[in-house]
């Protein structure tokens, strides 16, 4: 985390996240019914005044867990908020400021972790609900399973108010001081920096293709292990070279090796490790039956690889575009 806004964040604790708001709708039976239907809740006290009286509640009540629903801004409010996101810093409230500071710290992801609601009493149809939200806590930076982040808790307080509740938002805090609180909600979120997922294995280094060696890799692409042969003296040579080491002729052609041979020598690389390969990494010098040697990977357990083992080549394609011979133990099967 390169940016540290600890001080600016601490200054936000205790601040309300704007003026108190009033629910768009009074507590009402249609919204209660929609809620109860969605939840599959058949409790009759949400529909039936007689059942409410029988249960000692005096009539129909709203499901207590609807508390927050009364304060929601609805579709129009949601769309307005979405479209104005990121505009006009001077209009941001303490919550917007907190989220922006956390974003600037690199804690760009958010997940809700806890919701704690307390109900002072059931709400009845016809009640007008007002709400005030305050930033209650902002934690130090913590290590979490999701990445480093800060937990923040907001406290929402819900009040029952009457029609005299001021429409001027700046007068509402004073009015709430005299209003009856009906419930509270503490909502905790984690703002965190998503952990970078483990980097994908980089592709294997590509061979440098030259006029001399291109035939070898092109052959592998076609599924053939080609070995260079001097057309003057028929000596095989590998790796590819322009001239014959025995007779110095520049003339050559190729033969297709059957891929059979035996391990002439080998190493098992433990270090240094290149990210494209798995370690320990056995590499063998294989004496081909046709009569030259080739360096290649072997897929034999490094504990059990040995000089003199019979091996057989297969051609494996790495990273979708690099074909190379790999030698397996030849069990004669």
């Amino acid at each position: 985390m390169s940016v540290d806004h600890s001080e600016a964040l601490a200054a936000l604790v205790g601040m309300s996240t704007g003026f108190p708001t009033v629910a768009l709708d009074l507590v009402n039976e249609p919204m209660i019914r929609h809620w109860a239907e969605a939840m599959g809740d058949t409790n009759p006290v949400y529909f039936d005044a007689v059942a409410g009286v029988t249960a000692g509640l005096g009539g129909i009540v709203a499901p207590p867990t609807m508390l927050q629903a009364w304060s929601m801004v609805g579709l129009t409010g949601t769309l307005k908020r979405e479209s104005s996101r990121g505009e006009k810093k001077d209009l941001e409230n303490a919550n917007d400021t907190m989220m922006r500071l956390l974003d600037e710290e690199g804690l760009t992801s958010v997940v809700a972790t806890n919701c704690e609601q307390e109900y002072d009493r059931p709400l009845r149809p016809g009640e007008r609900i007002a709400m005030r939200a305050t930033i209650e806590t902002i934690s130090d930076v913590k290590k979490t399973g999701l990445g480093v982040g800060r937990f923040t808790t907001s406290l929402s307080e819900f009040f029952s108010v009457d029609e005299s509740f001021p429409s001027d938002p700046s007068l509402r805090d004073a009015a709430l001081a005299k209003a009856e609180r009906v419930g509270t909600m503490r909502f905790r979120i984690l703002k965190f920096a998503p952990q970078a997922s483990a980097p994908a294995k980089p592709p294997r280094p590509k061979p440098a293709l030259t006029q001399d060696n291109a035939f070898f890799f092109e052959g592998l692409n076609e599924g053939k292990l080609l070995i260079q042969r001097c057309t003057a003296c028929a000596t095989l040579r590998h790796p590819p070279l322009p001239a014959c080491g025995k007779c110095e002729s520049l003339e050559w052609d190729t033969i297709e090796s059957k891929g059979s041979g035996e391990i002439y020598s080998f190493v098992v690389v433990h270090y240094p490790q290149v990210p494209s390969f798995d370690y320990p990494l056995p590499i063998a010098l294989v004496a081909l039956d046709e009569g030259t040697r080739i360096v290649a990977n072997v897929s034999i357990d490094p504990e059990h690889i040995a000089i003199g083992q019979r091996v057989i080549a297969r051609i494996e394609t790495f990273d979708n575009d690099l074909s190379l011979p790999v030698f397996d133990l030849d069990t004669g099967a």
Partner: protein, 146 residues
């Protein structure tokens, strides 16, 4: 719904489990009934764009389902006092959430002498793990009402 009374409840009582198939209908109707129009709760394409494999249940619905689970058990006179939940694995369509609960403590209700408070530990588990776990306080009348 029959009414449970405080005296009939003991620590260790286990609530019958509630098996809830998580359908798109449940997620969408819960989101809209709670007036939560965030697109991740009703629009699969936008949920995908935001890195979620599908739409997922909003927290208000989770609260509502936990509340329903408790009052299904208490009966109509059960008064929810407090729902304190920790959120975990998302509820995606096609999954099933199983709610289980157990009475962990019983106490007098300081707010009303005619009631006693029951604390219930609740877990809602789906295929991914615990969607929700927490505690609920619900007040039950000491006696059957007349």
């Amino acid at each position: 719904m029959s009414q449970r009374t405080f005296s009939s409840v003991a620590v260790g009582d286990v609530l019958p489990e509630l098996v809830l198939p998580i359908t798109p209908t449940l997620i969408v109707s819960g989101a809209l009934a709670s007036r939560d129009y965030q697109d991740v709760h009703h629009d699969k394409d936008l949920a995908n764009e935001r890195g979620s494999k599908d739409i997922f249940m909003n927290i208000l619905t989770t609260n509502g389902l936990v509340g329903r689970y408790i009052t299904d058990w208490t009966g109509p006179a059960g008064l929810l006092r407090r729902v304190d939940i920790r959120l975990g694995a998302p509820n995606y369509p096609g999954d099933t959430m199983v709610l289980t609960g157990e009475v962990i403590t019983v106490a007098e209700d300081e707010r009303d002498a005619a009631y006693g408070v029951v604390h219930i530990a609740v877990v809602g588990a789906n295929d991914l793990g615990n969607h929700v776990q927490g505690t609920v306080q619900v007040s039950l009348p000491l006696k059957e009402s007349a």
